[in-house]
């Protein structure tokens, strides 16, 4: 199937790059103020925290990279995750697309 690159794609990719660059900054800032989501607050209030089990198979646990510093690991995770999501999402979009050749 022929695929034409949309004219908006370069600007969209540039925006994604900006977001990935911001990830370590927000991560650092959230750490400074003691980031806690309502889910964590509910778990603490009911004593559920100790029941949580971490997924041991993740390649980039907690959006970090083993052996790399916090900010660098966060940035690498942001780039890898964003690129992977872009590829998988685009593949799903193409798989669900209107491809008349495919149906012949």
């Amino acid at each position: 199937m022929a695929w034409e690159r949309p004219d908006w794609l370069p600007r969209a990719l540039a925006a994604l790059l900006v977001l990935t660059l911001l990830a370590p900054v927000f991560g650092w800032a959230a750490g400074q103020v003691g980031y806690a989501e309502p889910l964590e607050n509910a778990a603490e209030a009911t004593g559920a925290t100790e029941h949580a089990t971490a997924v041991g198979t993740a390649l980039f646990p907690d959006y970090g990279v083993p052996g790399l510093g916090g900010a660098t690991g966060t940035f690498v995770s942001a780039v890898v995750g964003t690129a992977l999501t872009l590829l998988v999402g685009a593949a799903i979009g193409r798989a669900l697309g209107a491809d008349t050749d495919r149906r012949q």
Partner: protein
């Protein structure tokens, strides 16, 4: 809002996982073969944007924080069915690659963020859009994330790890996301308004082949 393994009882996790599979299967059937070549890459770009935006934790000093989830945003920009598939892709990658959210409860997390937030957000948007797109998008983001959080709170409050303290989970997560959801609504409305003005051809009603 990403629930880790161990928080939800297994029968509940399986039930909501099955519900998520059913809804996403129907969603895939509804849009299969209906997406134009020009619009297909948009799914990847929106999914990637949501992934990257979810990594930006809002640093709110002295209080409870959160991050953008993007379910209503995806629903408004892509339509609800494609939006659900988009957010499900994000949540699944987050769990499998980054350990954000459990594997046993993956279906429940997908149900909360990719089904409830997306479809509730879209319903709110459609209901309020006669009163203005910006207001409708704001309310969609705000109430969509609150609905997703309340569903998560229901699952947690009916589980043994949370000692079946349903009122506690509903009040903490409901109230928390009702306030934090104002930021979700503001981002949803602002980004959508920018995109709608800059690229009106990307709006769902500019591509009627993506059915709602």
């Amino acid at each position: 809002m990403h629930i880790p393994d161990g928080y939800i009882d297994l029968p509940l996790a399986l039930l909501f996982g099955a519900l998520a599979v059913v809804v996403l299967s129907v969603a895939a059937k509804r849009v299969n073969g209906e997406i134009s070549d020009a619009r297909a890459p948009l799914l990847g770009v929106v999914a990637a944007s949501i992934f990257a935006a979810q990594m930006l934790d809002w640093p709110i000093p002295g209080g409870t924080s959160a991050h953008f989830v993007g379910g209503a945003f995806a629903a408004i920009l892509l339509g609800p069915h494609l939006g659900a598939l988009c957010v499900a892709t994000v949540v699944t990658i987050q769990a499998l690659v980054f350990g954000d959210g459990g594997l046993v409860v993956l279906g429940a997390n997908v149900f909360n963020m990719a089904v409830v937030e997306v479809y509730v957000g879209y319903a709110v948007y459609r209901l309020l859009v006669p009163y203005g797109e910006f207001r409708a998008a704001f309310a969609a983001g705000w109430l969509g994330i609150t609905a997703g959080a309340l569903t998560a709170a229901l699952q947690l409050g009916l589980s043994s790890a949370f000692q079946y303290q349903l009122l506690t989970t509903l009040s903490i997560m409901g109230a928390g996301h009702l306030v934090l959801g104002l930021i979700e609504g503001a981002i949803t409305a602002s980004v959508y308004r920018y995109l709608a003005r800059a690229r009106p051809d990307l709006r769902p009603n500019a591509a009627p082949e993506v059915s709602a």
